[in-house]
Amino acid sequence: MLLDLRVFNESGNAKFSELVASKHPDTPSRAKKLSLDDSLTTAFISSNDLLLPTTKLELGQMLWPHIGPDTLHEDKAADPSFWNWLAARLMSECLEKSKSSVGNQKRWVYTAGSRNAYRHLMSSAYLIYSNHSDDPSAAMAILCSPLGVFGEVTEQILASRSIAGSVGTELATSLYYDPETKKNKAGSGGKDAGSPRRLAAFLNQIKLTVDYKSMTVPELLDLLPEEFERFK
């Protein structure tokens, strides 16, 4: 359980950025220590219902009642100090579960700019949930994955804001997510024919002439080239 949600102050943000950049082997536990330091953080929500999220879906479900639209703290959804704090707080749990290393700094430290902002693990997971809050099942190709894993589907869909913010996420879910196993299908993490990378390339190509954002998933499935058949 998290017990509270906080934001880093200026010093907290700076210390966390320095820590992640240092690539110190003990970074996850040091990050958690920073996140619990009252001199570096300010709590804005204290609650007993903040269950520790393990997937992107659970993260969205946990945060939505507290920072969703028209809530008292909706501004936190666009506040890098909050996303950095959450990354620091959850880093050790995320990495323990995914058995991976800290890796790319931008996964943990929010970096502004359209080429970087989407790379943040926490912020991007919430963003996708937020875009599909009325029906999260439409975004399960991204939301099903463990919180500490970015993954190829997430990378390819989020890298193009126009795809992530439109029917693109639903299309990816329709192709790559298996509702029975509650996981993405085998091969969806690759780069070959029919892969998420090819899907993003296809949508970015047709958007010059076709307004795919106003199309439905079945209409787009009909339009996809043969290489995507194996995922349909």
Binding site: A14, A77, S123, S166, D211, Y212
Partner: protein, 248 residues
Amino acid sequence: MATRSLNDTGRSRITHEMFDASLSRETGEPVLKISWDITPLSIRSKKKLVVDISNDRVEQRVELSEVGADVGEIIYPLSAEFAVGVTRIRIVAVTEDASGIPIIRAESVTTSFSTSGESTSKSILVVEPVADLAVIWELDFDSGDVILKVSNKDNLWSEQLRQSQIFKSTIIGHIVYAVALHLLATRDELAAGLVNWQNLLVPLGLNIDDSDEADVEDLMDQARDVSHAFQEDRKLLSHLISNLEEIE
């Protein structure tokens, strides 16, 4: 010779003369106002007119006109997500082909709005205050926009530099130099946000067509000349002196 084409797909261009847009954030609640007149495009088939609104994190679509009216105006309150940061809009006219596939018949260049207060589609420099910027200011050419990042540490921008004509007149020459050099050095398709800059600087001596045959020193010399021409054209030195005299 460099080849620069913004529109080679048969789409028409919704030019800046065909629409006006402003984003007001003075009260903290972002409100987008757009007026348009696309009659010069003569799109006779049934169409839908939409605007895609985005920032670094999200994108949303608003239908400007259900009946695809050629002339109109809309005032649209945006979500709090657009209260801060750079906001971009792109207007698109969509028709359907014989099989019902939505086809983009016309689109505007992407227009960006500054994060600081109210800005309009005529603004060519997007100002973005950054609390943790380690320098006073820097330029960023992210997504084809020319973004002036200014330090807002201890409210430096919002309470001091935003009102300072001295600050603005001393940095604009450097900005013009950097933009001119960027335009000269860019070999691929010119990003939409730089079109207005190109239109502004070509009459001041920017010669892009031969830039791929020139060496770096020639390009730097040309960018410097364009910056000088801009500063002389705007009489920046006289303005700075009169501002300083007012302060004294």
